[in-house]
Symmetry: C2
């Protein structure tokens, strides 16, 4: 049995974890727990996720998978949340994240001097916590596997499954969910998106990025004093 724990929090991005969840769920012998601190229900982008496990009561896991979302900032400002991740990471075979989930891992001190992926717009913030921002879509450094933004989690999951159960298991999961992508547009990265598209998205995210920078600097300073 492979035990996977996915810690959720208010403002997590649903697709960051429902993508990987669906692929991992396709395997035999998986025990995947969605968990949260002090609540069994989380609202994320308008979707209510219920029946969550109590993060503090989960003793151990083989895979820790931290999803991202704009709520990651509040999550990494919560010492009890970081402590739960540190505790679970100690015994985990793989410590992983999707999207801005890597900022949470980094704030928990779990990516010190390690290369890590992140959503493209928030990637450089990793350095504030001593991690090394990497533009890769799936970045491996020791037993840390981090994926890029949101949908990147699907490729990340296939790669993780290949590690856990071999390439054929990953291919079976891929066929089951008919993952043969053929996007009608080529706008998925800042490098390929048409300039007006990039400018619009940067404009939309600019206040969120500025706010994240400000709050992350405070957390990083507090952690430097403590550690």
């Amino acid at each position: 049995m492979t035990n996977v724990v996915i810690p959720l929090y208010e403002g997590v991005t649903p697709l960051d974890f429902t993508g990987p969840y669906q692929l991992l769920y396709a395997l035999e012998g998986m025990n995947i727990k969605l968990a949260a601190l002090g609540t069994n229900e989380i609202v994320a982008d308008g979707i209510t996720f219920g029946g969550l496990s109590d993060l503090d009561r989960i003793e151990a896991c083989d895979v820790l998978l931290v999803p991202g979302g704009l709520g990651c900032i509040a999550a990494l400002e919560t010492p009890q949340f970081l402590a739960a991740l540190q505790r679970l990471a100690l015994g985990a075979t793989y410590v992983t994240s999707v999207c801005t989930g890597s900022l949470i891992l980094a704030a928990a001190g779990l990516l010190d001097k390690r290369r890590a992926a992140c959503h493209w717009a928030f990637r450089e913030l990793l350095a504030t916590f001593g991690a090394i921002p990497d533009p890769g879509r799936i970045v491996r450094d020791g037993n840390r596997i981090t994926g890029g933004g949101v949908v990147t989690g699907i490729d990340f999951a296939l790669s993780l499954i290949a590690d856990l159960r071999g390439e054929e298991a990953a291919q079976r999961a891929q066929l089951l969910v008919e993952y043969a992508p053929n996007p009608p547009f080529e706008a998925g990265t800042p490098e390929t998106a048409p300039k007006p598209v990039l400018e619009a998205v940067n404009g939309r995210l600019s206040s969120a990025i500025a706010e994240a920078e400000r709050r992350i600097a405070i957390v990083a300073e507090r952690l430097r004093t403590v550690r």
Copy 2:
């Protein structure tokens, strides 16, 4: 405001709708409702979705988006569920589905003599209800837009967004969720998957397909008598 209704049921596949949901949610002016019949909570592949709207109380929508999953058979055996879809489809600008959601639309008489996509393993069952199975990943026939299996829903959603709001809006959503797929394996379709992988997945699905065939034949016969 664009009103989207996503009818859920026990045994729906989470990624069938969380993929499209996340992309649609990236747009301004969207009102996306997850709904169900007679319950505000659905458990799907181990994930509890709460806070659902009452499907029977939703008056109208612009986009009806029916996800698939193994529970689609029980859903299409439920006359009240089909009636709700027929009612909403009447006023909808787009009547759509992902994966085996097209079997439900077909059972509701909403794909008569129309081409439609479906999960590859269940596609031929569309013909039992008078729809025309189409191997395309995104199939358009009039205002019906149907997507193939599970992850195909992401490409489907980009295509739908281009219709609703133009190509640039679709590209902005694509960049926001960093959708630049690069699967580590080429096993997402029966045509590209290695033979042992296809055989294993066919083996795993064979009883579900046989069961679906049996039950769908009964529903189709009953509908022929009624209509």
